[in-house]
């Protein structure tokens, strides 16, 4: 007889989400639903009728962790719709921004993921905030890496959070030679730190993968060898930066994308029948409470070739670099392996950028209503923005953000794991939930009528 347990809210990631899990008598998940319960932002609706300059700025406000990805994706979606070609040096500045964003975001994920993990060779869980070694120097290294990412974002993007410098047509300002030297020095400083951090984190994750049990709720929970395995495919537009509909070989195909309602994809109404007050923090939801995932999910369910797909570091690594580790640990390791590339690419781009070249296109056509899309490889995966611009005004705007893709995929990956470890799997996706929220429409009986209407 299966029982239902709900973990709400899930912790140590961005945004608000919850887990509704059907488990068997051994506590193994038979069916898991991971859903966003973040209130709707309404950005896609707000964008309609605004100018193409405003919309990327509004879109970036959807979140504070990867605003760079949203700014770049929305800007490039406008450019794709209007057919704007940006100067090479503007592209290089955007690449630096992209790498800076990835560097700081991955470092941030490390601090969120570490408390699940053990110091290798011991049964002590890592507390990243302890003043004791070896954890103290790791925490400091993470902060330094974040400082470097944010400072470079600030120099090139004008602002570390919600960058002001990118614009439709390129960038507002080029950087000065002194600023470029600073970017270069900071990136150089990051090389040894990023390498040490990558090696440390991989060792910690590998150690977790080899362990037989993890302590949860005051008991030893067996870790399955296939923790977080799923059978879904991967989707990535580019190993580092992104792709738009203007590219000769676009990395993403809108014809293969379909968005369906959570109604069709999530569980119906369930009563919680299992509770554990020892679950951190504050216990799981009380037994007897009702949960209704298909109504409560605040996302659409995007499908690629009719199936949910995984996006993110492992998708990029699998598609472009033949990486083949599966499961939650494999995903975490893939993320760590992206550190070095983001630092080296930053240096390469800083090397190549001409600080006295123009960084904005001479001519910006005002758009004729054609659909344009841009897929930006945000730290958490492929962030696709679609737009139609006519006479300088945005007619239609849609954001297909990484965690929206990952919600249904990760829900599949929960099957077979002990429910106590469900959050470990969720955290491996480095979820960033707030941008992954879409609007749904209810009728007078609270039945879901349409989601596509208001996208």
């Amino acid at each position: 007889m299966s029982k239902v347990v709900e973990i709400s809210p899930t912790t140590r990631h961005e945004g608000h989400s919850k887990l509704v899990l059907k488990v068997n008598d051994e506590g193994i998940i038979e069916r898991g639903d991971w859903l966003s319960i973040t209130p709707v932002r309404g950005v896609e609706k707000l964008a309609i009728g605004k100018t193409y300059e405003q919309v990327p700025k509004i879109a970036s406000r959807v979140c504070g962790i990867c605003p760079i990805a949203h700014t770049l994706a929305a800007t490039e979606a406008m450019e794709a719709s209007m057919g704007v070609e940006i100067p090479d040096d503007a592209y290089l500045l955007r690449v630096i921004l992209q790498c800076a964003n990835r560097l700081h975001s991955h470092a941030l994920h490390d601090i969120l993921a570490l408390p699940d993990m053990y110091i290798p060779g011991t049964d002590t869980k890592i507390n990243p905030f302890t003043p004791e070694e070896p954890v103290r120097s790791v925490a400091k290294r993470i902060q330094t890496l974040r400082m470097i990412g944010q400072t470079i974002g600030e120099i090139v993007g004008g602002e570390a959070v919600h960058p002001s410098n990118p614009r439709v047509g390129g960038m507002y300002k080029n950087i000065t030679p002194r600023a470029r030297a600073k970017v270069y020095d900071l990136a150089k400083q990051a090389i040894p730190l990023a390498r040490e951090q990558m090696e440390f984190m991989i060792a910690v994750f590998e150690n977790y993968g080899k362990r037989d049990w993890a302590e949860m709720c005051g008991r030893e929970v067996a870790i399955p060898k296939d923790l977080g395995y799923h059978q879904q495919g991967y989707m990535a537009a580019d190993p580092l930066y992104g792709s738009t509909s203007l590219d000769a070989n676009p990395g993403w195909d809108p014809a293969r994308w379909l968005e369906v309602r959570p109604w069709d994809w999530y569980m119906g109404e369930e009563e919680i029948t299992l509770e554990d007050p020892a679950y951190p923090v504050g216990g799981t939801t009380k037994a007897g409470t009702k949960a209704w995932p298909q109504m409560q999910a605040c996302t659409g369910v995007p499908l690629y070739d009719g199936q949910p797909v995984e996006v993110g570091p492992r998708a990029r690594m699998s598609i472009f670099k033949n990486y083949d580790r599966k499961g939650a640990i494999g995903l975490n390791i893939a993320r760590e392996m992206e550190y070095m590339d983001s630092v080296y690419k930053m240096i390469e781009a800083a090397d190549a950028v001409n600080t006295s070249a123009p960084v904005c296109a001479d001519v910006i056509p005002q758009g004729d209503g054609e659909i344009g899309w841009a897929a930006n490889e945000a730290p958490r995966g492929c962030d696709v923005h679609l737009a139609k611009v006519r006479n300088g005004k945005v007619e239609w705007f849609s954001m297909l953000v990484p965690t929206t893709w990952n919600f249904p995929t990760c829900s599949r990956a929960l099957t077979g794991a002990p429910w106590e470890l469900a959050e470990v799997i969720v955290r491996a996706y480095d979820p960033c939930v707030s941008c992954a929220t879409h609007m749904i429409v209810l009728d007078e009986n609270n039945k879901l009528v349409a989601q596509k209407l208001l996208e």
């Binding site: 400072t151 600030e154 120099i155 090139v156 004008g158 602002e159 570390a160 959070v161 410098n165 300002k173 080029n174 950087i175 000065t176 002194r178 600023a179 470029r180 030297a181 600073k182 970017v183």
Partner: protein, 290 residues
Amino acid sequence: MEYLGQYKAVYKAKSGCEDILAKAQDGGIVTSMFAYALETGIIDGAIVAGPGSEPYKPEPMIATTVEELFASRGTKYSISPNISLIKEATRSYGLDKIGIVGTPCQIQAVRKGQLYPIGLRDVPDKIALALGIFCMENFPYQGLFQMVEDHCATKIDNVTKMDIGKGKFSVYTERGVNSQIPLKVTHKYEQPGCHVCLDYVANMADISTGSVGTPDGWSTVFVRSAAGEAAFNKAVEAGWIVAESMDGVKPGLELVEKLATEKITKNQKYLEHRAHKEHAALKPLRNPYI
């Protein structure tokens, strides 16, 4: 000395560099301080009032070399919104130690921005040296243009120097034609915002300077903060600035005090006037020094 703010020392000073003095308004203190600070790494860039699109229309610029700094020598009696660059200096210019020069109100803005960095993320700790200049009032460019072209009957393109002193606004040209008009003629061209200002000698700057109180070719310098004191003393030691005691200097601090009192009491009266109930729509401003 109620209206002169707190200061550690006051000097009669001028630049030790002939190049700077040649084009300086008075003692060339701001240019010399920034030049010394740039050379020695106290700052890595300075926000100054550079040349703009029209003659004597200042435009803020970031000088990262002494050559760039020299382009901004001399006073332009119009508004240069230097604070507008303060964030950009830390961004695409990549500066870590900023020098900024401004009128008393601008220095107040800098300090307020350091206290409440709204829209100035990561900027407060990067202000290394804030130099203030004495300021009685400021003119919008159109007002200045009219004063020069109409009242002084001089084409503004031909002007080599403008000066306010001894109750007169003076315009000097290359051909040697000098025009002077009494200041009471210029009052109506002043910015209305200047009439609520209760600061004459940039009380919140690290160092504040102006011509009042010292003979021609010299400046009065108030050294106010520890950072200002360290930088000023080193600049004097290195010979960039010649500083002498204010003792016995005529007209001396009495004149500075007199003008400061004049400005502040006059503006306080205006503030009270605005606070009167017939002008209830105009809210009284709080005295920032109480």
